[in-house]
């Protein structure tokens, strides 16, 4: 991308194929290869720079001002928006950290279920059974539905007074007035449960593919050594799934960290702000309450937190792999 002439000349040569004098080896050829590579990258990079890199820097700049689209002049305020977030007693800090902790709770509460339930289901489906494909299809089906549909269906099912779930529980003699979408801790049960119901199929089929990828010889070898079911599970299945496990935990943590629709639609963030996730709070502050600059700062604090969690997660998984290898 340094020499305009080369850019103009290069495509003629490429498209001309063998015709014309071939460029001599060395600089021009490597330059041409560079140009070709960037040409291939260009459409993506155009989008990437405009809608990912650009906004990322734009957002940082915004977070350093008192940006409002409704004012003519934006003042540079330095790190004030960040300082406010870390200073107790400011308008945003308590609410922001509350919403961060809500997202944190959701990650802690949902990720184990979103990993373990699909793992168990995948193991069941991996048995020699009839209709495995049918079951797999059914378990995956909710995942193709949008969160708005999920919100509609479960909103009516989980309604405290007129919901079908409480009605069914009443029929079998259980309490029939549980506030599934209204009060803690039930809201958490609902949010995690609905999320598992909705997305469990995705992790299930990924685990299933991982299980199928484990060399069956390993099981046979273990059997010959007289290993029991549990032993085989711990020493063959789990190590064999390790790369898949890393992928699943990482993507599931990120997905849970970005949770928005479920609590927006089912609990409205309530009771109080108990289930208002950080995404919900940032979107509300930035777009509805016209606090764009603080919202931008919040989104970067969230990013930093997620980056730390991801790095820790990678480290942890890698350590385990290394230990496993020894």
């Amino acid at each position: 991308m340094t020499d305009t002439r080369a850019i103009v000349v290069a495509p003629q040569r490429t498209s001309a194929g063998g015709r014309g004098p071939r460029p001599s080896r060395g600089k021009p050829a490597s330059r041409r290869r560079t140009l070709t590579a960037y040409l291939f990258l260009a459409p993506f990079l155009l989008l990437f720079l405009t809608f990912v890199v650009g906004p990322a820097f734009f957002g940082i700049w915004m977070s350093l001002t008192n940006w409002s689209p409704f004012r003519d002049v934006q003042d540079f305020v330095g790190l004030q928006n960040y300082i406010d977030l870390f200073t107790p007693g400011t308008v945003t800090s308590a609410d922001f950290w509350k919403s961060m902790s809500v997202t944190g709770i959701f990650i802690l509460a949902s990720v184990p279920f979103l990993v373990v339930v699909p793992l168990l289901v995948a193991i069941l489906l991996n048995q020699r059974i009839r209709g495995a494909t049918t079951f797999r299809t059914i378990f995956f089906a909710p995942y193709v539905l949008g969160v708005a549909v999920i919100g509609v269906i479960w909103g009516y099912i989980l309604d405290t007074q007129s919901g079908i779930l409480n009605h069914l529980m009443g029929l079998i003699g259980l309490p029939s007035n549980l506030p599934w979408t209204v009060d803690v801790p039930w809201v958490w049960v609902s949010l995690v449960g609905v999320t598992v119901w909705w997305t469990m199929g995705l992790n299930t089929i990924i685990f299933l593919a991982g299980l199928k990828g484990i060399n069956t010889d390993l099981y046979e070898a273990a059997s010959i050594d007289g290993a029991g079911t549990r032993h085989k599970f711990m020493n063959v299945t789990i190590p064999g799934l390790r790369p898949v496990m890393t992928f699943i935990t990482t993507t599931t943590i990120l997905a849970s960290a970005n949770m928005f629709g479920q609590s927006y639609l089912l609990t409205k963030g309530g009771p109080g702000t108990e289930t208002r996730t950080v995404i919900m709070y940032i979107a509300d502050q930035g777009l509805s309450q016209n606090n764009m600059a603080p919202a931008a700062a919040m989104s970067y604090v969230l990013f930093a937190a997620l980056a730390i969690v991801s790095v820790l997660n990678f480290r942890l998984q890698r350590e385990r792999v290394e230990k496993g290898a020894k």
């Binding site: 305009t4 040409l39 405009t50 007129s162």
Partner: protein, 436 residues
């Protein structure tokens, strides 16, 4: 030859990003200070007028298109295009859309939003059209007209008022052997007690905007309090009156008159399905078709506190000042607003009370819509929403306090105190944000 193109495109995209960032620093167009006039005539070139409103439910989806079709047929050079969406979506989208020049030419807003828009220079002065319509403050219920007044300019034309009322499922009420609709604290409590004896939780109290917050606001006014002080510099909803109001609501649950943990809309659903007898809800429910098979009646909300008071919202016409707003469109929009006002008798079909006294007090209205009577009778003591830029964010704290108190997270006083502290911070922030 597409390699230079790629290079230019990348360059252009970088320039674009930088340009957008830079444009934030520069002035984004001086306020034109234009206004809307309304002599009811438009003689300019053919225009399309975009109209945003939030009447998505009830009878509005049939009535609004009918009215617009009629207007378009009568006006050769004007085509109004309605864009209905949730009120909440309008709040979230409209300010930014106006800034982008993608907003409507005319819209309907609730009273509590007007100042926020006006403070952000998003609205045109509507004084002219009010003159054209011949409207003045005394042509509307007390307090409605002034909602559109901000820093000595009038930005809005009142359109409708929507007070709260008491909806009664008479079949359920009869189970407790009661035929009289309660009107005060004593009779209301007696009815609730009788219903409790019949195994019915008489009124389901919820901790959401619809309609717990409206009920709370009605009560605080009944107990002689208010949400904010006169010039809206301090939250006062944690006053003694506020605590009384919220305690009355939490006591409903404690005494077994209401189930705990009612979900949003749970109470109106329960009324329809015959599980409860009373629901404090807005006049807009009078046209809910789900009531068709019910034996129901609406009444003024009972007087629980020391004086009569009830919450009401109001809706208003506004003329957005889009980036590059076409003057012809605004002129045509004002013709539309005048026409709608002249033809607003049928508006009650949507379950809203026309704001203009002349229309609302026309006997023909009640003849056609007798259910509106109890709502009309409350207007003399109705209180409307607080006006101040950015106030809705502070108002959200009230709902939060309700929700926390009703789910037992905090006692009423603590919940309201915490919410008031927060609301005060937001008010201070708003003063910085929207200027003074």
């Amino acid at each position: 030859m597409n390699k230079p193109w790629a290079r230019r495109a990348i360059g252009a995209s970088i320039a674009l990003v930088i340009g957008i960032a830079a444009s934030g620093c520069s002035a984004s167009g001086a306020a034109s200070g234009g206004g809307v006039t309304g002599d009811g005539e438009y003689t300019g070139p053919d225009v399309n007028v975009t109209f945003w409103h939030g009447w998505t439910g009830g009878a509005a989806p049939t009535i609004v298109p009918e009215l617009i079709q009629k207007f378009n047929a009568e006006h050769e050079n004007i085509t109004v295009k309605a864009v209905p969406q949730e009120w909440g979506d309008i709040t979230a989208k409209m300010p930014l859309a106006i800034k982008a020049g993608k907003g409507p030419d005319v819209a309907v807003l609730h009273g509590d939003d007007l100042a926020t828009y006006a403070a952000q220079n998003l609205l045109l002065d509507a004084g002219g059209i009010l003159d054209g319509l011949g409207y003045a403050a005394e042509d509307f219920p007390k307090g409605v007209f002034d909602k559109g007044n901000f820093r000595d300019a009038q930005y809005a034309v009142p359109w409708s008022v929507t007070p709260l009322g008491l909806y009664v499922n008479k079949t359920v009420l009869a189970k407790a052997g009661i035929t009289e609709i309660p009107t005060d604290e004593a009779s209301y409590t007696a009815a609730l007690e009788a219903l409790k004896g019949a195994g019915v939780a008489g009124e389901w109290v919820d901790g959401y905007v619809f309609t717990g917050t409206f009920e709370f606001q009605s009560l605080i006014w009944q107990f002689g309090g208010d949400m904010y002080n006169e010039d809206v510099t301090e939250a006062t909803f944690n006053s003694e009156a506020g605590v009384k109001a919220l305690t009355w609501m939490t006591d409903m649950v404690k005494k077994g008159y209401s189930p705990a943990n009612v979900a949003q809309d749970g109470n109106i659903k329960a009324l329809i399905s015959g599980e409860t007898a009373f629901n404090w809800n807005g006049v807009w429910q009078t046209t809910n078709t789900a009531f068709d098979d019910l034996d129901w009646v609406a009444a003024p909300v009972p007087q629980i506190g020391d004086e009569k008071a009830v919450w009401s919202s109001s809706t208003h016409w506004v003329f957005p000042e889009n980036k590059g707003q076409d003057k012809n469109k605004t002129a045509a929009a004002s013709v539309f607003v005048k026409w709608m006002n002249d033809n607003s008798l049928g508006w009650a079909e949507t379950g809203e009370l026309p704001a203009a006294n002349s229309v609302r007090e026309d006997p023909a209205l009640l003849e056609q819509y007798p259910n509106l009577e109890p709502f009309m009778s409350q207007l003399e003591y109705a209180h409307y929403e607080t006006v101040s830029p950015g106030i809705s964010e502070a108002n959200a704290q009230i709902t939060l306090a309700l929700n926390q108190a009703l789910t037992g997270k905090k006692d009423p006083k603590a919940a309201l105190d915490d919410a008031a502290d927060k609301a005060n911070q937001i008010i201070t922030q708003n003063q910085a944000k929207y200027g003074d």
